[in-house]
Amino acid sequence: MAGSNKTNPTTTLRTGITPPRWLLAELTYACPLQCPYCANPIDYAKYQSELSTEDWKRVLTQARKMGAVQLGFSGGEPLTRKDLAELVKHARDLGYYSNLITSGYGLTEEKIVQLKEAGLDHIQVSIQASSQELNDHLAGTESFQLKKEVAHLVKKHGYPMVLCVVIHRENIHQMPEILAMAEELGADYLELANTQYYGWAHANRDLLLPTKEQFEQAEQIAQAFKEKVAGKMKIYYVVPDFYEDRPKACMNGWGTTFLTIAPDGAALPCHSARDLPGMDCPNVKDYSIEQIWYESLTFNFFRGFEWMKEPCSSCDEKEKDFGGCRCQAYLLSGDMYAADPVCSKSPNHHIIQEAIDSAKASALADNEKPLIFRNSKNSRLLS
């Protein structure tokens, strides 16, 4: 029973460029929550326009034809889009495996049933903390009880239940309670996402970055739990790269696997890419996904290894981590071509230690500055 010998029509189309597999559809920047580590860009408020239903359907169709199969409906809060069920149905008809990435805010039982009938495969509910007080504080809205109800309803209607908790200094001490909550809610998958310091999280880093001791203790608890629930619950643990000495293989390599479409139609190799200088991201209203993926300057920008500087260009690990994250290199060192400062080989690695020291000093200060919440007012103030 040998494998198929047929050639793959998509990969032979443009030599050396793999087609997209994962599509993240950021339907809107509108969100009832105000999480201070939101992955949306700081200046999101200036992007007022949203793609139409027909634009989204065309994008889904074109990307699917190229080979995209995993689809995330995200935002903002995707439930604020009135055409969500219509887009879910279109995605199912095309053969996508689709995921609703939601705060749970606005997810009624009726909506859960409607989306199931439309063909939604799973729902990822985010919870900010294991206690009502902290959850509601971080979310900037009263949402804790509602999120727990939503988690029960997701299970009740036969979806795999994916619980996502973003971990940072404000909630890392709750790790045992967070794990107990996931077990009580019957999560099939638990994503423990140590905060990645981009966008709003970058602005709030002094208040969010845990100490090494806090991180190690929490990781130990999570690892023990992982063994305990093996076979019942799958844990995705997103490591905090500030405490690693090699960078993450960001996006599995630029323009190799992931395609993000922002609410206004900008096509991005990762959801922070539009923050890079001179990165004039192509819009799906002007080009097809095929043109964008294979021909655009943006998607070709960091493909391969030609763009690299030392120490990356001669590094024997460059094929493993691609020099790390371009957005993080730019955010921390001001140079998007530089090695990700997370790497201990980077001449900018001291920036990481400085950030850790700064966060520690902030935690010890008598009057720590308050968190900046993600809302349109702050977005306009900061951009």
Partner: protein
């Protein structure tokens, strides 16, 4: 985890098995992940329809591919599949 010889085996409703035209292969899809299957693994999983037990699956596949002696390979693969949650037995 071992396969119960008498109980029927069914593909997990929490996963999806589908043919991917662009990749020219069958894949298993689940939250945040995808497993690419070779042809033999895909053929075995397609038999896990909740009506057949291990012996019936072996016999059907041996007949379909005009061969014998598949019991060990199929059992080993189904144990991996069970451990990964791709299939279920009551």
């Amino acid at each position: 985890m071992t396969i119960h010889p008498d109980h029927p085996i069914k593909f997990s409703p929490m996963h999806r098995l589908q043919w991917e035209e662009a990749q020219q292969k069958d894949v298993i899809l689940y939250p945040e992940g995808m497993v690419e299957l070779n042809q033999s693994s895909a053929e075995i999983l397609k038999c896990c329809d909740g009506t057949r037990n291990l012996a019936q699956i072996v016999s059907d596949l041996e007949q379909k591919f005009a061969t014998t002696g598949l019991t060990n390979d199929i059992t080993a693969f189904l144990e991996v599949a069970l451990k990964n949650g791709w299939i279920q037995q009551n």
